[in-house]
C-alpha cells in the first residue's frame, strides 16, 4: 500500500485502464475531505459515509467515460455539494425530522451566517511581499530589533556565500 502521492492526472489515466491501485490512491487522497465536508453540512456521520461511498462508486463506474481534460478535484467538489443537497432534501421528506432541522436551519440560513461565507478566509498565514517585511515580521516574533535581525541575516548570507566560493575553489581545480 503506497502512500506516495502521484499527480492526479496520471492516476486518472491509470484509472481508465482499470487500475484498482490508482483508484484506491485517489480514494485515500480525497475521501477525508469529502467526509468532513458532508459531516459538517449534514451533522450525520452515517449520511456522510453514504455520500463518500456513492461518489467513489460513481467515479469507478464512470472511469471509461471521463473527459480528456477532467479535473478530479472540481468533479468531487461539485459532486459532494450535489449529494449534500440531495441527502438533505431526502431527510426533510422523512416524517418527524422537521422539528430537529428547523432550529438549525433557522440559524444556518440567517443572513449573518451566510454573510460569513463571503468574507475572505482569515488564517494564520500572511502574504509577505518584500524581504524587509519578512525581517520586520521575524523580529516581531522573536522580540528583536529589526536592525539586529537584518544584520544576522546579512552575516548568515555572507558566510554562506564564502562557504560556497570555497567549495567552488576546491571542487574545480584550475588547469
Amino acid at each position: 500500500m503506497s502512500r506516495i502521492s502521484t499527480p492526479d492526472q496520471s492516476l486518472i489515466d491509470r484509472l481508465g485502464l482499470d487500475d484498482t491501485e490508482a483508484f484506491e490512491e485517489l480514494y485515500r487522497h480525497y475521501w477525508h475531505s469529502l467526509y468532513r465536508y458532508s459531516v459538517r453540512k449534514l451533522q450525520s456521520p452515517i449520511d456522510a459515509k453514504k455520500i463518500v461511498r456513492t461518489i467513489f462508486i460513481d467515479l469507478w463506474e464512470q472511469r471509461h467515460s471521463l473527459p480528456v481534460s477532467f479535473s478530479l478535484s472540481q468533479h468531487l467538489y461539485a459532486e459532494v455539494r450535489k449529494e449534500v443537497v440531495k441527502s438533505l432534501s431526502e431527510k426533510l421528506e422523512e416524517p418527524g425530522t422537521h422539528e430537529i432541522f428547523e432550529k438549525r436551519f433557522e440559524q444556518e440560513f440567517s443572513v449573518e451566517s451566510l454573510l460569513a461565507a463571503r468574507k475572505p478566509i482569515s488564517g494564520k498565514y500572511t502574504v509577505i511581499n518584500t524581504p524587509s517585511e519578512l525581517i520586520r515580521q521575524q523580529s516581531g516574533q522573536n522580540g528583536l530589533a529589526a536592525q539586529t535581525t537584518l544584520s544576522t541575516v546579512k552575516w548568515l548570507l555572507q558566510s554562506f556565500t564564502n562557504k560556497l566560493s570555497l567549495i567552488n575553489l576546491l571542487s574545480y581545480p584550475k588547469n
Partner: protein, 80 residues
C-alpha cells in the same frame, strides 16, 4: 427558515428550477464551513478502510481486476 420552505427550495435546486436568489442562497450555505469535526487517527484509518470495503463490495472490482503480484525484487525493495 421553515423546513417546508427549505425542502421546496432544495427540490427546485435539484431540478434546476430555482430562482437565481435561491441558487445563490443555497450555494452560499454550501460554502459555509464553520464547525470542525475531528477524528482520531485510529478512527480515521478505520473509517477509511470501512468505506473502501463497502465500495469494493458494491463494485466488486477486486474480483474483476485482482491486484497483480509484485515481482520478488520489488517486494525486497519495499522493505528498505
Amino acid at each position: 427558515m421553515k423546513s417546508e420552505i427549505l425542502h421546496r427550495k432544495l427540490q427546485r435546486y435539484i431540478n434546476g428550477e430555482s430562482h437565481p436568489a435561491e441558487t445563490r442562497q443555497i450555494q452560499t450555505w454550501l460554502s459555509c464551513t464553520s464547525s470542525e469535526e475531528q477524528l482520531t487517527p485510529e478512527e480515521r484509518s478505520l473509517l477509511e478502510l470501512e468505506i473502501l470495503q463497502e465500495i469494493q463490495a458494491y463494485t466488486a472490482y477486486p474480483l474483476f481486476y485482482p491486484k497483480k503480484e509484485k515481482p520478488w525484487w520489488q517486494k525486497i525493495t519495499t522493505l528498505f
